[in-house]
Symmetry: C2
């Protein structure tokens, strides 16, 4: 560690030894290029300790791998998960995620209340004299998160046609009578664990098609949660979620040059990162007890809009525990 970081590193460390960088570099004639320089330093540390090869993450920098291999050291990348302990959560980790989920719910609630309290004028939502925008609701949500020492880099508040793109964060005036997707995935800064939840609401009256979509997404989410248990393939959870849409006649595929229907995975692992293993999608991936995963089916059709619902569940031997307490309803507020 550099002189700037070495004292803090020694205080925070859970490792065997923290080495002061200057103790290696002082008086040495090192290359100027940063990776060549780091390579020379690593070679010196490795030689002092009799280390001849390193296991590294798949994302280890190519430049450093090339430099170290050039100096005769072995660099072997190991497929993910590089830290296998991260995959199945301990009970302590699950409590951290549960706490992050509580914060996520409070922030979602604040955003939904802001929308529920909006007036409707000429088909648009207003807050007194001004339009209620995605940005304003996002600020309400982030202010609630901030007060709880959480933060979410990209809160999604997307309505109307914007909600048809599942990753559009939303911007500008929100419309009445159209579904608004709120997707909040904060990290709790105290523990570093994440929550990830989505709700969809309509301020005013939803169209019949949007109401049908909402009921189908809710049924799809229930169907997926019903099959989750240790040993099942994520593929089969995804298939259970998809089957509800097929049975209800909601088609997925390219229409007029863009994807419509249910065209993302059903979920993903959640922990220190918002997205981690396992995947719950078309890909083969066996669920294990202690996995914490999202279940988040959605439907997206131009002209109608987008509907997505998302909860976080812990996989158990014989099923799953839903960490979320907040209802998916009411849809119309």
């Amino acid at each position: 560690m550099s002189d700037l970081e070495v004292d803090r590193a020694r205080n925070l460390q859970r490792v065997d030894e923290v080495v002061r960088l200057a103790s290696i570099t002082e008086g040495e004639d090192l290359p100027a290029e940063p990776f060549a320089r780091i390579g020379a330093i690593v070679e010196k540390i490795a030689a002092e300790r009799g280390v001849g090869a390193f296991d590294v993450s798949p994302r280890f920098p190519t430049a450093l791998a090339d430099v170290l291999r050039g100096r005769g050291l072995g660099i072997r990348w190991r497929p993910a998960p590089f830290v296998p302990e991260r995959e199945c959560k301990t009970s302590e980790e699950i409590e951290h995620i549960r706490a992050a989920v509580r914060h996520t719910e409070a922030a979602l609630q604040a955003g939904i209340e802001r929308i529920a309290n909006a007036q409707i004028r000429d088909g648009k939502l207003t807050d007194g004299e001004v339009a209620l925008t995605s940005e304003a609701v996002r600020l309400t949500i982030n202010a609630e998160l901030l007060a709880r020492e959480c933060f979410c880099t990209t809160v999604i508040v997307a309505g109307g046609e914007q909600a048809v793109d599942p990753h559009d964060r939303g911007s500008g005036p929100l419309l009445a009578n159209r579904p608004i997707i709120l997707d909040v995935f904060p990290r709790d800064n105290k523990t570093r664990y994440c929550g990830d939840m989505t709700r969809t609401v309509v301020r005013g009256e939803a169209s019949d098609e949007a109401r049908r979509m909402f009921l189908a997404v809710k049924a799809s989410k229930d169907a997926a949660e019903a099959v989750v248990r240790a040993g099942i393939d994520g593929q089969d959870v995804h298939a259970a979620a998809s089957k509800v849409f097929e049975d209800e006649g909601f088609e997925t595929g390219v229409k007029d040059g863009r994807m419509v229907g249910f065209f993302h995975g059903t979920g993903h692992g959640l922990g220190l990162d918002v997205h981690e293993r396992p995947r719950v999608s078309k890909t083969h991936d066996i669920l294990k007890a202690g996995h914490v995963i999202t279940i988040e089916p959605g439907l997206y059709y131009p002209g109608i809009g987008g509907v997505r619902l998302e909860d976080d569940v812990v996989v158990t031997e014989d099923g799953c525990e839903n960490l979320c307490l907040m209802s998916c309803e009411p849809f119309e507020i």
Copy 2:
């Protein structure tokens, strides 16, 4: 791009072509391991376009480099800057940074006002009946940033002995009569450009040593800014900042097992990232017109505390333009 992202990518793209991933993978028997899989996809795309080798960033993942080389493709990493256009800022980029600096100043001002309005009880700052904490001032600063569509991952509000570690973010009750460092480096979410500023204040009365430190840091910052111009070595700017401390008798080095004095660089490039090229430190790095750099000398002594002042300047042919308007004074508030 996956089906989930392809429409948004086509809308946002500034590239020649966006390829739908499924158009490559459909009907193919691809490896399951993610990097082996990506490698197979890249090989297919490269073959279709007659590409035999790639220039990559030094941080390109080792796993993917190994897979692609194994498939006979050339992978050559290029030393930083991988995108050389990022180093010298255009006038449009400078205006984005200037705007980010305005937001940074407003947030710093809000934090300093919160401290200025605190009462002093038994040597501690209070806000009515409760202790004024680093966390509370951090929340004030982040709320101001959020309302401006900016965010800073780690606002530093560190007083007392915490401020002796330049990267301690600060926690718990703030003390009266001791320097409090406020370091704010937000990204403007509209433009993605960053600001980075530091002020140090004392609520109450500073000790004579702390006051001497403040005056020396201010003189060091002025001395560094006075020598900045296109063509100078960052080393020489750092030397000018350091010389003020040496002349005033402030020693730098290890004392009682920890670093004291001025033991970090004088500054760093600022742009789309908070830290980018060039460095203004002991390292050789020639400044160019259009570089935007921080100038941030500091002094840190256990028992007294930490003092750091930081502005952002644009390097010009014959000097520099300071983008910050906010004064470094008053020190005592």
